[in-house]
């Protein structure tokens, strides 16, 4: 018996009812420390084949709404009120057996991190076949297998790979598998929760296009949960903006992008630089939706001398010999690149994941030993810094790092004062009072205050933590800051704050920066010069306008075209 046959009344209601009808939906988590409302008063309709963008920053409740449509909240710890109907079937308060008939059959979900969301223990073919069989009881195994293979082929994965496991696929292919699995029973509604957030631009574009094609084929209505305004503009018909678990506005995508009603929406849209924003301008933030333009244009001496440079750099991992004497093929992360960061400039190092950009940054920071090639800082050979503690220590006085993940890169057991002053303790003879004074100065420089000295990292938001990380990096007044994806883990409006801060600081302090990023729009906004990396090689390097307006490499053009 198929699922649709199980609910004949609902099937006839589909014609009249919208695919998804949400009225005054509220979701409250009841925990030991009291109740937390994650979504409140959400009301919208979703027609067949329509794409609704559910937009907001992390913690705004957008994923909560998505999970509520699946009935996936733990009933023991969640209170849901209001109404949520999938094709006329009420989800709020439904029994688990009713929800099971619905899930995966009439409403399905695609999660952000496909590697975590797919079972590591079963082949992708088996996982798809299972999704089919759950709702086609009694269907022969062969039928489910054929269906799974068909669906995989539909998303561009060959039948031969159906036996492979998720970890054997690339990120983009895994997300295709997720999508194929969600659509195998042709659901009425698809909830896609940040389906492309972890993907590189080109892959993101492919996945969004695929999603769009399949939506047309199946007539599926899609709720696209995202924080990315570019994705919203590219892929949605209407937008629902959420903030602090409330519904802020609901309108057509065009309307929201061009004439947003709410200042917050305006800030959210203005916060992310695009390929059309004027580089170097202050970005809008939630506190400052209409920022004052920066006064002076950024002046960079064109032929400043190089501060840090690598020449003909190679980095290989692995290699060596197996115990039986066979030679292992090394991973060639960086293959003969040369680049330099000049005094006072910001060099953007762009590339997709696995292109070798982070490895290059680690070499310049003295954390990774190069396999061959020259590495210099102020003309001095620092290629041995990774194995020479004294040299690395000296280098770290002048070159400091800002990391991607502000949660992982700060020691949770140390106060902000301890974190920020550690470099001073290691490198200077400043006493406790002097160190504290410098810490206050640094915190004020990054927009925090002396009140924060005694606090621990977990008491801060992601953006504040990244400020602490920047303050730590600035403690020794370094000449070079190496920032590896410093804003990619942050929400757009927080990203805007941190970018604004970095722009202020580099003007104020005359810093040189190596800015590693996969986000072309951010790099274009922030950097003076750009180097584009692919497969461990530099395919193009030049001034910002040159690279972005007249890209010479085909790969750069491809990347630009894929940026949504």
């Amino acid at each position: 018996m198929t699922a649709s046959a199980a609910a004949p009344t609902a099937a006839s209601a589909v014609v009249a009812a919208p695919a998804l009808r949400v009225r005054d939906l509220s979701v409250t988590f009841t925990g030991p420390r009291g109740a937390v409302t994650a979504a409140e008063g959400i009301t919208f309709d979703l027609a067949r084949g329509e794409v609704l963008g559910l937009v907001g920053e992390s913690g705004s409740g957008k994923s909560t709404v998505g999970l509520a449509a699946m009935g996936l909240h733990d009933p023991a710890r969640t209170r849901i009120t209001g109404s949520l109907e999938v094709g006329g079937t009420q989800v709020v308060g439904a029994l688990d057996a009713e929800l099971r008939a619905l899930r995966g059959s009439r409403v399905a979900m695609v999660f952000q991190d496909a590697l975590a969301a797919l079972s590591p223990f079963h082949s992708v073919g088996a996982q798809l076949a299972e999704a089919y069989r759950v709702h086609h009881r009694g269907a022969p195994r062969a039928e489910a297998r054929d269906r799974a293979v068909d669906m995989l082929e539909r998303v561009g994965i060959t039948a031969a790979r159906a036996r492979d496991y998720p970890h054997q696929f690339s990120g983009g292919m895994r997300q295709r598998v997720m999508i194929a699995m969600a659509l195998i029973n042709s659901p009425d509604v698809l909830i896609a929760d940040e389906p492309t957030t972890a993907l590189d631009a080109r892959v993101q574009r492919q996945v969004l296009d695929l999603l769009d094609e399949l939506r047309r084929e199946h007539g599926t209505a899609v709720v696209l949960v995202t924080h990315d305004v570019g994705v919203v503009a590219h892929a949605t018909d209407r937008v629902l903006v959420m903030r602090d678990s409330m519904q802020l506005e609901l309108a057509s995508t065009e309307r929201v992008l061009t004439a947003p009603e709410h200042p917050y929406t305006r800030a959210l849209i203005g916060a992310a630089p695009t390929l059309n924003t004027v580089p170097g301008t202050r970005l809008a933030t939630v506190d400052e939706p209409e920022p004052k333009p920066r006064t002076a244009a950024r002046a960079v001496v064109a032929d400043a001398r190089p501060l840090a440079e690598v020449t003909d750099l190679y980095v290989e991992f692995g290699g060596g010999r197996t115990w039986s004497g066979r030679r292992r093929e090394p991973t060639r992360a960086v293959r003969g690149i040369s680049l330099s960061v000049r005094e006072g400039e910001t060099l953007g190092l762009v590339g997709e994941s696995g292109s070798g950009k982070s490895t290059t940054a680690r070499v310049l920071a003295g954390l990774q030993r190069p396999t061959s090639g020259e590495v210099r800082f102020e003309g001095r050979d620092i290629s041995g810094a990774a194995g020479d503690a004294a040299l690395r220590r000296e280098l770290s006085r002048h070159a400091q790092l800002v990391f991607q993940d502000p949660y992982a890169s700060l020691n949770p057991r140390r106060t902000v004062e301890q974190i920020v002053t550690t470099p001073l303790r290691v490198h200077t003879r400043a006493d406790a009072a002097e160190r504290r004074e410098r810490a206050v100065e640094l915190l004020e420089q990054v927009g925090l205050s002396a009140d924060h000295l005694e606090r621990y990292p977990h008491e801060f938001s992601g953006g504040q933590r990244q400020r602490v990380g920047i303050a730590r990096a600035l403690a020794l007044r370094p000449r070079l800051i190496i920032a590896d994806e410093p804003v990619s883990a942050l929400d757009v409006s927080v990203q805007a704050q941190v970018l604004n801060l970095l722009m202020d600081l580099r003007d104020e302090l005359g810093l040189s920066l190596l800015f590693v990023s996969h986000d072309l729009a951010v790099v274009r906004h922030f950097c003076d010069r750009v180097a584009v990396m692919r497969h461990g090689e530099i395919v193009e390097t030049g001034d910002r306008d040159e690279v972005f307006d007249r890209p010479s490499a085909a790969y750069t053009r491809e990347l630009l075209a894929a940026t949504v």
Binding site: L102, S119, P120, Y165
Partner: protein, 330 residues
């Protein structure tokens, strides 16, 4: 796969060699003289010297050890206290002058006891330990979970000799609900075999099950929040099927690894349990040999225990690799 097996076998050989050498060296350094013990209390100095020579104890330790290893690989002839030759086939573990029998025979005759005890205890560990952990995790925070968690805490904190004697007193002597613990070969009387081992297996299993219950509960609770478990629910699978197919599998690896160690350790002998219930297994043999300074038996039992641990740890790794395709055998 083949290269993995070869590597693990080589590894095992190295471990066993190192352990046997250590045990040998330790006992060579011990203050008491094996020749005196072998000869008996009535021997005079010349007799002891003769015994020492016939046992090969006057040779340097390296030569003695080389003899031992050669005997293990190819077999050798050993002379008894009085000089009569004893043939010892490979794998020869030496001759016990205290027991007056080859070490291998001494172990082989006691091993069925240890095997039965280990098997029964293992069943208790898997059913009561891992089972309790599973139920606890599914009923997290409810009364069932509290009761089971309390029981496992009891199991983790109570000592075998106390629990063993207490239960033996209560269940055997006071009420007669359980048969008197003891070992009857299963070929002789299967019922008596089971009845005699029931209490020892329950006690040994219960005490060791506690750790598994706590670990499996913690593992399952952690895995329940994994993305793939949510995906499985999102497909429309029932909670029970989700747990059986996804959560358990995700939680299995550390349990299997610990279980491998546990089985290896159990097969090496459970001295306290064997002593409490008067069973003569390998554990008791080993400890008696230490007390009597019976070097060949000590080395033999130590090697046996190490062998089982090495083998079952390697097997556990194979099972983990089979459960999780991401794991590569190395």
């Amino acid at each position: 796969m083949l290269s993995y097996l070869i590597r693990r076998a080589l590894q095992a050989a190295v471990v066993l060699l190192a352990i046997s050498a250590t045990a040998f060296a330790l006992f060579y350094a011990a203050p008491s003289d094996p020749a005196v013990i072998a000869c008996g209390p009535k021997c005079d100095a010349t007799q002891i010297a003769a015994v020492r020579e016939s046992m090969g104890l006057d040779e340097p330790i390296l030569a003695q050890y080389a003899d031992y290893v050669r005997g293990f690989v190819a077999g050798r002839t050993i002379s008894d206290v009085d000089g009569t030759p004893i043939a010892c086939d490979a794998p020869c573990l030496g001759y016990s002058y205290a027991l007056h029998e080859p070490v291998r025979a001494a172990i082989t005759s006691r091993f069925p006891v240890t095997l039965s005890l280990a098997g029964g205890a293992l069943a208790v560990i898997v059913v009561a330990g891992i089972g309790a952990g599973f139920v606890s995790a599914l009923r997290r925070g409810r009364p069932t979970d509290r009761v089971l968690s309390g029981l496992t805490l009891l199991g983790a904190s109570v000592q075998i000799y106390f629990l063993g004697y207490a239960l033996q007193y209560l269940l055997v002597y006071r009420t007669g609900w359980f048969a008197l613990p003891g070992y009857t070969p299963p070929g002789e009387d299967l019922g008596a075999w089971a009845a005699g081992l029931l209490l020892p297996c329950l006690v040994l299993g219960f005490v060791n099950a506690a750790m598994f219950a706590r670990l499996s509960r913690a593992q399952l609770l952690e895995v329940m929040h994994e993305g793939y478990v949510r995906t499985a629910r999102g497909k429309g699978l029932s909670p029970l099927r989700t747990h059986l197919k996804y959560t358990s599998r995700g939680a299995a690896a550390p349990l299997v690894q610990l279980l491998g160690l546990e089985v290896g350790a159990l097969l090496g002998g459970a001295f306290i349990t064997e002593t409490v219930f008067g069973l003569s297994g390998v554990g008791k043999l080993a400890v008696d040999a230490v007390v009597q300074n019976d070097l060949p038996t000590v080395v033999g039992t130590v090697l046996l225990a190490a062998f089982f641990v090495v083998v079952f740890v390697a097997l556990a790794d194979l099972v983990v690799a089979w459960l999780d395709p991401r794991v590569r055998l190395a």
